[in-house]
Symmetry: D2
Subunit: 140 residues, 4 copies
Amino acid sequence: MNHIELPYAVIEIEVPFHDVDVMEVVWHGHYSKYFELARCKLFDQIDYNYPQMKASGFSWPVIDLRVRYIHSARFGQRLTVSAEVTEWEHRLRIDYRIFDTLTGQRIAKGHTSQVAVNMAKSELCLASPAVLLEKLKITL
Amino acid sequence: MNHIELPYAVIEIEVPFHDVDVMEVVWHGHYSKYFELARCKLFDQIDYNYPQMKASGFSWPVIDLRVRYIHSARFGQRLTVSAEVTEWEHRLRIDYRIFDTLTGQRIAKGHTSQVAVNMAKSELCLASPAVLLEKLKITL
Amino acid sequence: MNHIELPYAVIEIEVPFHDVDVMEVVWHGHYSKYFELARCKLFDQIDYNYPQMKASGFSWPVIDLRVRYIHSARFGQRLTVSAEVTEWEHRLRIDYRIFDTLTGQRIAKGHTSQVAVNMAKSELCLASPAVLLEKLKITL
Amino acid sequence: MNHIELPYAVIEIEVPFHDVDVMEVVWHGHYSKYFELARCKLFDQIDYNYPQMKASGFSWPVIDLRVRYIHSARFGQRLTVSAEVTEWEHRLRIDYRIFDTLTGQRIAKGHTSQVAVNMAKSELCLASPAVLLEKLKITL
């Protein structure tokens, strides 16, 4: 049995003023943006970001989003966001962790799931298309 | 045993241009805004929206967000968003459903969980404070 | 000489929690969304919103945005936003006014300018195309 | 007469997926966020960002925003944003330029104006308070 090393990406962000709410913490809905920044970095690393997805004939809508908030984040705080592929056979699941860059304090974690849609047929794919496996360098 | 009728709110929105992405559908991260609009309507109905929360000495940070996407939504589409309190003892959980106002087609569902934080003590409350139960008209 | 009555639209919004910043007022960058909501209502009224623009072969990128802030707006405040076509020959200029729905207090004003781009030729139009004049019911 | 060298800051960003609209370009309203990122970098450089402003007893609401769009920006494009103080006596005006990091192509330019508000008195300052001049290292 082969060990499969699945892609992993890490980014750093600094909390912008416009993401902070009246409670002086990042408004909870903005974390999906931070997840996306890490996810797109991961997609860049495997050469399968939105333009390449489109060129491959598939769109990959998000069908599930989960965010668990552990500690609040504040204006100017430096955050590290990791994204890691954890499922790929029937859907593409990516798990995220956000922590304070300086102290390592955990801020949030979560995941997104995406499924392939054959754009020509407007048809949901029950199994991930070959192109994803190629990009993930998975040989069955 | 008393039957408790928990608060419920419904709003209608029209998908704005600035919420739609290159795939011509609402970007998945914006649904947390739609949930919040319904949640704040619900909070208004029970007279315990953010200003009243603050006045009561408690903040209610979101600790969990889940969104499940069923059908994509498009620019100008009229959506109905419902919010319903489903837990209140140890945390405030609200469940949401989004559907097409005209056809009834299901668009998304999800939930948020919030916990009370005693602002003076910066202390998480393990049980919901009395003020929430009063607002929910729950008599134990 | 004919008097030309140019289109005018009015919407009402309620300031959402997620638009308010740490100063407890609407973050200045969100006003472009409020302008857009009124602009799209106006475009609906003349049957020339983004889908019809695309179908007509023209895109209308915003080339200029101005916002002047008069009084700050707060969470839950009801605002009225008006949009009015003020130029159409070489570019489409729309002027906006935002005021408190209940008191009439002026909150902000501003404008956007858009120019037509012939999408097939990727070419900027130096004069507004006939389709805009038809939609505006302007006869020269 | 002294020559006054006014603060200047530069940042780099990469256009995120969630800022791009159906026309496959950055939605015009997001440029105020890019301006703010450069402005906050500038404020950090002079040690007078939002926390220090608050500590000094003044808030600095934006009273004017202007954005002129020259070329559209696309998903993943690397942009350089500069911010430069151009007025300080009665209001704080900052001018911005956005250009493509690799090619130097001009994308947008604009400015914001902010005025000092004495938070204790809720009073607009007709002249910039001494603390701004100190931070800008201006000696009259």
